[in-house]
């Protein structure tokens, strides 16, 4: 209250002063803010980051209405000083006079009133360096926090978040009471607690603030809490001593404290003689070679570590080198000491509270990571499902193995690329590309069925080989046409970016789109198979071609259609996959083994099996990756091994056909 009163009085005084100076142009008495600046004139002129703080503080704490503007102009290098009088002015460039000298227009710093125009040579510009400007920025924050514009206020909050200092805590607390915007208020409160953890005065308030963050996912919280847990490793002879700041006991040779690190600590505390490593020992021995001997031992015999240790000990005895522990002696010395860590950043109570809070945060993070992983796995599963669904039709329904399936995927992706070359609008081009890819690969599939596969029914192994030949040829053809470098298939803008749920969980829109596409495919497939005439005929031909033929169904036509359908779906899958992966001639190859795995694991001849298989493989791969995130190659290896073992127990897949259908 007193503070506000003071501010009021000060501003009243300032108004009066302004009036006074306005009335009298030649007034020699200085405005309050000018007086303040003159008071600190020396350090302002010196303009050094290390000494300037009192001047900035005086300005910021003065409560003068002009203080903010002075700081801003000063920061923007728009405040100049008269060389003779040492008075400070705001300036504006005013062109040149008749002699070609640059002119400056001066403004009063308290009233912004226009004064005279002077030669630039008579004035000095204040040029604060970036360090000083940052200090001014920090000081300005307190003005900005009370600014009427919410944009300025949140900008000030962002500035504090970026680079907080102790003084901000009080400013922030003061500003919090007056804030009306709920969102900014919430942000202020959160920031206040974060600052309390860092700059709070008592342990109690720090602990209280820390505890309020239990389970919070924000990266800023972790960034604030982690430094509190800084520890230093201590060594003591014998048992670990009682120490209130004791954080943890360590064992030499453990992962946190390797032997040489532990020994280094002993040496730096003068608890053990310095270590000599093999290279230094060798250098010392070489330095002391005398007539083919080191301390009387033949050089030629020094080809084992033991012999070298003996020679070195002999040198020590002779006094030529300093005593030093060799690597083999470390263990014995280390056994006499115990190691422990102490908290160094803050009091143990606060550190413990921070540790507890971090632990609860870690739990929440783990849960959310699991959620994120599940989303990832789901999207991978839908990609596998997309890639495999065409195969599920040709392989699952027709029992025709099509090694060129991957190349149909590639063909679809390249169709998308070509369409994008013609139609520049990405949304329209995708809308054209999907049916175009279907048509192209449908035609290719029908052609392949008519020309090759038709002749090879009932000879699955040869179908495999023939389609493989087609696969080699198509791949090389794509290389010849499109070159070996990857071609981009750009997704429309509305598919760019990611849906961010919180700091841990996010999923890109393109993956959501692929997931939706997979669901649509599933629906379309089920509809065609179960609700249409064609589907009925396909199922009939699958179960018993001869019987179907005698019922008036043309098995040739149905086979052709089915194969075309499977290939067409592969083409659409190609567009989808091309959107998030690069389009190369090897695009399909990357998916072919996984696709077959999906179909086989799921169970041949059943779309639900394929769905289940894709889900299993997608989740499996993501979760194996989770154990070893740096290594997707290993994840794939283990996944394939898992599948090989899985086939042992369910040779016919997760959903096996039963009865006569299984023998077809």
């Amino acid at each position: 209250m007193t503070r506000i009163l003071c501010t009021l009085i000060a501003s009243l005084l300032a108004c009066l002063a302004t009036l006074a100076s306005a009335q009298d142009d030649t007034a020699t008495d200085l405005s309050e803010i000018q007086a303040l600046l003159q008071q600190h004139r020396e350090i302002i002129e010196k303009s050094s980051r290390t000494t300037i703080q009192p001047a900035i503080d005086a300005l910021a704490d003065s409560g003068l209405p002009a203080a903010r503007e002075v700081l801003e102009k000063w920061q923007a290098r728009e405040m100049w000083q008269n060389e003779e009088t040492g008075l400070f002015y705001f300036v504006e460039e005013a062109g040149e006079d008749a002699d070609g000298e640059d002119l400056l227009k001066l403004f009063d710093i308290a009233t912004r009133e226009e004064l005279e125009t002077v030669l630039e040579d008579d004035m000095d510009q204040l040029k604060p360096n970036s360090g000083i400007r940052a200090l001014m920025g920090a000081a300005l924050v307190r003005f900005q926090l009370k600014d009427p514009s919410p944009i300025v206020r949140s900008g000030a909050l962002a500035a504090i978040e970026r680079d907080a200092e102790e003084s901000h805590l009080a400013t922030l607390r003061a500003a919090m009471g007056e804030e009306e915007n709920a969102a900014i208020q919430a942000r202020m409160q959160r920031l206040e607690r974060l600052l309390t953890i860092r700059f709070g005065e008592t342990d109690e308030e720090k602990i209280e603030a820390i505890e309020s963050f239990h389970g919070d996912l924000g990266v800023d919280v972790r960034a604030t809490l982690n430094p509190l847990l800084a520890t230093r490793i201590m060594a003591a002879e014998g048992e670990v001593p009682e120490d209130p700041a004791l954080a943890d006991e360590l064992k030499a040779g453990s992962e946190e404290l390797p032997y040489d690190e532990a020994y280094r600590i002993l040496v730096s505390n003068d608890l053990a003689p310095p270590l000599i490593n093999r290279n230094d020992q060798k250098a010392a021995l070489i330095a002391n070679i005398d007539n083919g001997k080191v301390a009387g031992i033949e050089v030629a015999s020094l080809d084992t570590d033991t012999a070298r240790d003996m020679a070195y000990d002999a040198l020590v005895e002779a006094g030529t080198v300093n005593a030093a522990a060799t690597e083999s002696e470390i263990d014995d010395i280390l056994a006499n000491f115990s190691f422990y860590t102490v908290y160094t950043a803050t009091s143990p109570q606060v550190a413990l509270a921070a540790a507890a809070a971090l632990q609860s945060i870690d739990t929440t993070v783990a849960v959310n990571q699991f959620l994120d992983l599940t989303l990832d796995a789901l999207s991978l599963a839908s990609i596998y499902f997309l890639a495999a669904i065409g195969l599920a039709i040709t392989f699952g329904v027709m029992r025709v193995i099509n090694m060129a399936h991957g190349e149909f995927i590639m063909m679809g992706a390249y169709t998308g690329y070509v369409v994008q070359q013609i139609v520049p609008d990405y949304t329209v081009s995708i809308a054209i590309a999907i049916p175009a890819a279907f048509v192209v690969t449908f035609a290719a599939g029908v052609a392949m069925e008519r020309l090759v596969i038709r002749h090879l029914y009932h000879r699955p192994l040869e179908t495999l080989l023939a389609t493989f030949g087609i696969s080699i040829a198509l791949q090389q053809l794509a290389k010849n046409i499109f070159g070996t470098q990857a071609r981009p298939l750009t997704s429309p803008d509305w598919l760019g970016g990611a849906m961010v749920i919180n700091d841990v969980v996010s999923i890109s829109y393109i993956r959501i789109a692929i997931f939706v596409l997979a669901l649509i495919f599933l629906g379309v497939f089920l509809f065609i198979m179960n609700r249409t005439r064609v589907g009925l005929e396909v199922r009939a031909v699958t179960q018993n071609p001869r019987m179907a033929a005698s019922m008036g169904i043309n098995p040739d036509r149905i086979n052709m259609l089915t194969f075309g359908l499977g290939s067409g779906i592969a083409g659409i899958a190609g567009v989808a996959i091309g959107l998030y992966a690069q389009v190369t001639s090897e695009l399909g190859q990357a998916y072919i083994v996984q696709s077959f795995m999906t179909v086989v694991v799921g169970g041949v001849g059943n779309i639900w099996g394929t769905l289940l298989g894709a889900t299993l493989i997608g989740f499996l791969q993501k979760f194996i990756e989770w154990f070893n995130p740096s290594n997707t190659l290993a994840a794939q290896t283990y996944m394939i091994i898992f599948i090989i073992i899985f086939i042992q127990f369910r040779p016919r897949g997760l959903i096996a056909l039963k009865g006569r259908a299984a023998e077809a």
């Binding site: 080809d303 000879r459 030949g469 090389q476 290389k479 077959f596 190659l633 290896t637 394939i640 090989i644």
Partner: protein, 427 residues
């Protein structure tokens, strides 16, 4: 080589049975093949740079030597696919494993010699640890490691690594085959499963921390440690070794497919269920053939990669195993010489086309560069062979010998049209 054959035929288990003619006489094709191989080897030796008049360059000698190794692995593929009906897409993985096994020793020993040599003039004689560290830094520096991974534990010993050449592919095939066959995985499922195994292996080897230098692979294998002979001579040694291995492998395979065992595996190929009902342990037979051919493939790889000079995981990728099937199919399945002809023909023609030696064809509006179009030609010819010439190149010999596929009066020819089941049974 002929001596070897007679020894084998003498130890033929059914030697006491009422068979007048020895093994070789009953299979004239074996004799013809061995004669051709011998003539080829002697001819190449005479024309070589190292031992003869120097018409054939050393690099071409290496190509020929490598081709012989490919013929050997194609033989194995024919045995497992053409005779037993298991379309394995993993035999090139076994081939690569054999190469890795021998490559580890070659690389270790050569690096050791270099390291010891460089340390010989040091002020102090090196300790064993220093030598070992030196070798490890040399070998694994490229993947950012400086210690030997556990898989290199036996790399210092040639006998152990030679044993690994046989055991590594053999054990992998045994375990994998046992798992696959006992759960009755057959046909295309088995093919896909073997392909998955190959993919898993190559992906594993692609990792830097697999201990086998990741995608850098093992290199410098053409230099035999401790041998100062020039490459022109060393390449001939390997050519002879490869020819010998191919000859022995051919005799072994011919012996395996003749007699009762051969009849059983052909029976498994044509109708597995029926053979099982007759009381044969189908899984046992398949497992034996699968493992045996894996071992042959491993030996072929161990001879191949020292001639190639480098092995990396890309060599093991599933595509290589499929090419192997392509060779055998083009050569003609179900006949051993067919596999050899296919492998030799396709790999040499492939070298010719992709090596840029084939003349470009100018069509006026477009020039056909064979480097670009060879794979398309290969792929399409593969389709044509499968569709129209299931017997492959080997089928030409049938026309010469005026043999015909038995007339089945319209009955389904079974899974493998390329075979001569009835006639083979007669022999």
């Amino acid at each position: 080589m002929t001596d070897q054959t007679s020894t084998l035929s003498a130890s033929y288990p059914d030697g006491g049975a009422p068979r007048a003619k020895p093994f070789v006489m009953r299979h004239p094709s074996v004799l013809i093949f061995l004669a051709c191989l011998a003539i080829f080897t002697v001819g190449v030796t005479i024309l070589s740079e190292g031992f003869g008049i120097g018409v054939i360059s050393t690099s071409f000698i290496k190509t020929l030597g490598k081709t012989l190794c490919l013929c050997l692995v194609a033989l194995a593929m024919d045995l497992v696919w053409g005779y037993t009906g298991i379309l394995s897409l993993g035999h090139f993985a076994f081939f690569g494993l054999g190469g890795y096994a021998i490559g580890m020793w070659l690389m270790y020993e050569r690096t050791r010699l270099i390291v010891v040599d460089s340390m010989a003039n040091a002020a102090l004689p090196p300790t064993p640890q220093e030598i070992s560290d030196g070798i490890a830094t040399q070998i694994f520096g490229v993947v950012g490691a400086s210690e030997f991974p556990p898989v290199w534990a036996t790399a210092h010993s040639l006998p152990l690594q030679l044993l690994a050449v046989v055991l590594l592919p053999g054990l992998l095939a045994l375990v994998f085959g046992w798992l696959a066959f006992r759960s009755r995985v057959t046909g295309v499922y088995l093919s896909i499963l073997t392909q998955a195994m190959t993919l898993a292996l190559s992906l594993y080897l692609f990792q830097n921390d697999s201990g086998l230098r990741g995608n850098n692979g093992l290199s410098g294998l053409q230099n035999l440690p401790g041998v100062s002979a020039p490459q022109s001579v060393v390449s001939m040694w390997f050519l002879w070794g490869s020819a010998l291995a191919l000859g022995l492998g051919y005799v072994l395979c011919a012996w395996v497919v003749s007699g009762k065992f051969g009849s059983v595996i052909r029976g498994i190929r044509d109708d597995e269920a029926r053979v099982r009902f007759l009381g044969y342990s189908v899984e046992g037979y398949k497992l034996f053939v699968f493992t045996l051919t894996a071992v042959i493939a491993g030996i072929a790889g161990a001879l191949y990669y020292p001639q190639a000079g480098i092995i990396n995981p890309a060599e093991i990728a599933p595509i290589a195993s499929i090419y192997l099937a392509v060779w055998v199919a083009i050569g003609g399945r179900g006949r051993l010489y067919g596999a050899v002809i296919g492998a030799a023909f396709v790999s040499l023609v492939s070298t010719w086309f992709t090596g840029g030696q084939a003349p470009d064809i100018n069509l006026g509006f477009y020039t056909i560069h064979w480097v670009d179009w060879w794979l398309i030609l290969l792929g399409l010819s593969f389709v044509l062979v499968t569709l129209f010439f299931p017997k492959g190149i080997g089928g030409i010999f049938d026309i010469i010998a005026e043999r015909r596929t038995p007339e089945r009066h319209g009955a389904d020819l079974g899974p493998d049209q390329g075979s001569l089941r009835e006639q083979e049974a007669d022999e």
